[in-house]
């Protein structure tokens, strides 16, 4: 799909937790070919302190209605500004950017998301479901406040929850969930979340000889491979997360796991 700079209209801005909100966006461009794992680079208007665009994973696409969803956590000035967007506001996006999760020969997968890193996993779960690929979905957070849209995930796979404080689901870290106590026959692990969590997930996958893809979130300027700022160290040297990622097979990364 050709990349474009497009004005979207905010159809809704829904508060999902104390820090997370969901933007529903529409425009004239067809979103049929957007892939799970891809991201958009958002221009934050009327915000003098945010100079660069802000990259966000595509949370989901409703192809029938041609609308796009972004799940955003208020972290800094840019995201806080976006949190205040009203229905009917304009939002300028560059999209679709980056590669996507691969699911060519996958038969049974587990999707592991931590915090707001779950954002691209809903779209992925939806695509896997369309292809009749069974998936377990494991959502982790610090507390119940971090866990949102559980019923959405449940539509596409068996959903499990952990929280560090035990306020929802099992207590503890995602990677300590009881689901890992027995072999579930997964042939693919997808993960997105804080890097230490993804590294633990990658270690599990490596030890159990399961393919594993992770979505990285490096600081970006351009999002289209021209500034070379968002690089990650790989077996092929420093490469751009924005164009050769954000999704990487862990075999390509030089993580010490």
């Amino acid at each position: 799909m050709k990349k474009s700079i497009t004005d979207f209209t905010v159809l809704s801005n829904t508060r999902l937790s104390s820090t997370q909100f969901l933007l529903e966006l529409s425009s004239d461009i067809l979103l049929n070919d957007v892939l799970p794992g891809q991201f958009v680079n958002v221009k934050v208007e009327d915000s003098p302190q945010t100079f660069l665009r802000r990259p966000f994973s595509i949370h989901s696409v409703d192809a029938k209605r041609n609308v796009l969803f972004l799940l955003i956590k208020e972290m800094g000035i840019g995201s806080t500004k976006l949190a205040s967007l009203q229905k009917g506001s304009n939002l300028n996006l560059i999209l679709p950017l980056g590669n996507s999760f691969s699911f060519g020969n996958v038969k049974k997968a587990i999707l592991i998301g931590g915090g707001c890193g779950v954002a691209p996993l809903l779209f992925l779960a939806k695509k896997l479901h369309e292809k009749d690929i069974h998936c377990d979905i494991l959502l982790g957070g610090r507390s119940s406040d971090d866990i949102v849209e559980v019923e959405e995930y449940q539509k596409y796979g068996t959903t499990h929850i952990t929280t560090e404080d035990g306020s929802l689901g099992e207590k503890g870290l995602v990677t300590k969930h009881s689901i890992f106590n027995s072999n579930k026959g997964w042939d693919m692990v997808y993960s997105c979340g804080p890097e230490p969590m993804m590294k633990s997930v990658a270690m599990y996958a490596k030890q159990n000889e399961i393919e594993c893809e992770v979505s990285l979130e490096n600081t970006m300027a351009c999002g289209i491979g021209s500034c070379l700022c968002c690089v990650t160290d790989t077996i092929d040297g420093n490469i751009c997360v924005c164009t050769e990622g954000p999704v990487f097979n862990i075999k390509r990364l030089k993580w010490q796991i």
């Binding site: 221009k43 300027a221 021209s226 700022c229």
Partner: protein, 303 residues
């Protein structure tokens, strides 16, 4: 409609808008957004003799009205450019200028010798101003003697248009400009990034892996404009102005200050189609003010 053509030595530009090295990749990155052939020229990513991995992550920090970068000339080397990139871009209906970087004078010479075989590279931009490499780079651009030495050496092997890109991290940029003019530079381009830094007060660590990096964006525009004005008064060769240009008004300011052409850098990151708006804006300004050519405003600052 006003005539937008400008000339930089033997380089004919259909308009004065080029893209700055390191902000436009090699061109294909922008093909989805603009017609590359509509530009006056593109300056491709800094190219060195050997492949370079650049600096470690993090290499970028957002700052008020700008950003710091410490990419460190990551590129796959001149041979890769010749064999794998040039075939993809040589058809562009615009001037393709290669930014040549190095750590040793001999490296610059070897890169230029290799590039001279490429028919559709009418000019190089000699980068003696990169602040993000340990050796060479900016070191060549911060003393008149070193700038003169590297310019002279390259002039001997590069018969086509030679643009020398200057560092703003000097006491007197006009003196450096005169030194490279004396050694045969056909034009100068300025400014490269200003050396800066940023700190995370929670971790008490620098935001860049290299501690310091190059500041770009609107934050540096007034400094860049002043330097372009000073250099344009000091030299007879054309000046290519850059530094924070984000719209047509900015570009026109640089032209008025004495730049014969301008480069758009960091603004490409925020709006990959900005160059086209800038070209249109310059044209509208000329027409509105009844100027028949862009030359009617170049260096026409009244003060």
């Amino acid at each position: 409609m006003a005539d937008l053509n400008v000339r930089i030595h033997n380089l004919l530009l259909k308009n004065p808008v080029m893209t700055a090295s390191g902000t436009f990749g090699y061109g294909p990155e922008f093909e989805d957004f603009i017609d590359i052939g509509a530009l006056g020229g593109i300056v491709v990513k800094g190219t060195t003799l050997e492949p370079r991995q650049g600096n470690s992550y993090p290499r970028m920090a957002e700052t008020p009205a700008g950003m710091l970068n410490a990419v460190g000339l990551q590129n796959k080397g001149v041979d890769y450019f010749i064999n794998s990139i040039y075939p993809l871009i040589q058809h562009y209906n615009t001037n393709i200028i290669v930014n040549v970087s190095g750590s040793l004078v001999e490296d610059y010479i070897k890169v230029c010798e290799k590039l001279s075989a490429l028919k559709n590279i009418p000019a190089i931009e000699l980068n003696i101003s990169c602040p993000n490499v340990k050796e060479g780079g900016m070191a060549f651009g911060t003393s008149c003697a070193a700038a003169a030495t590297v310019t002279k050496a390259v002039r001997n092997v590069w018969p086509k248009t030679l643009i020398v890109k200057l560092s703003p991290n000097v006491t007197n940029i006009a003196e450096i400009a005169k030194s490279v003019e004396d050694e045969g530079a056909d034009a100068v381009s300025l400014i490269n990034t200003l050396l800066g830094m940023a700190i995370n007060i929670d971790t008490r660590k620098p935001l860049l892996s290299t501690v310091t990096g190059g500041l770009s964006g609107p934050a540096i525009k007034p400094v860049a404009l002043r330097m372009v004005w000073q250099v344009a008064k000091a030299v007879k060769i054309p000046v290519v102005g850059m530094g924070g240009i984000s719209n047509a008004k900015d570009a026109i300011e640089f032209l008025l200050a004495g730049a014969s052409a301008i480069q758009v850098g960091t603004a490409n990151f925020i709006d990959p189609a900005i160059t086209i708006s800038i070209i249109k804006g310059i044209e509208e300004y000329l027409d509105k003010n009844h100027f028949s050519s862009v030359y009617d405003i170049i260096g026409k600052l009244e003060c």
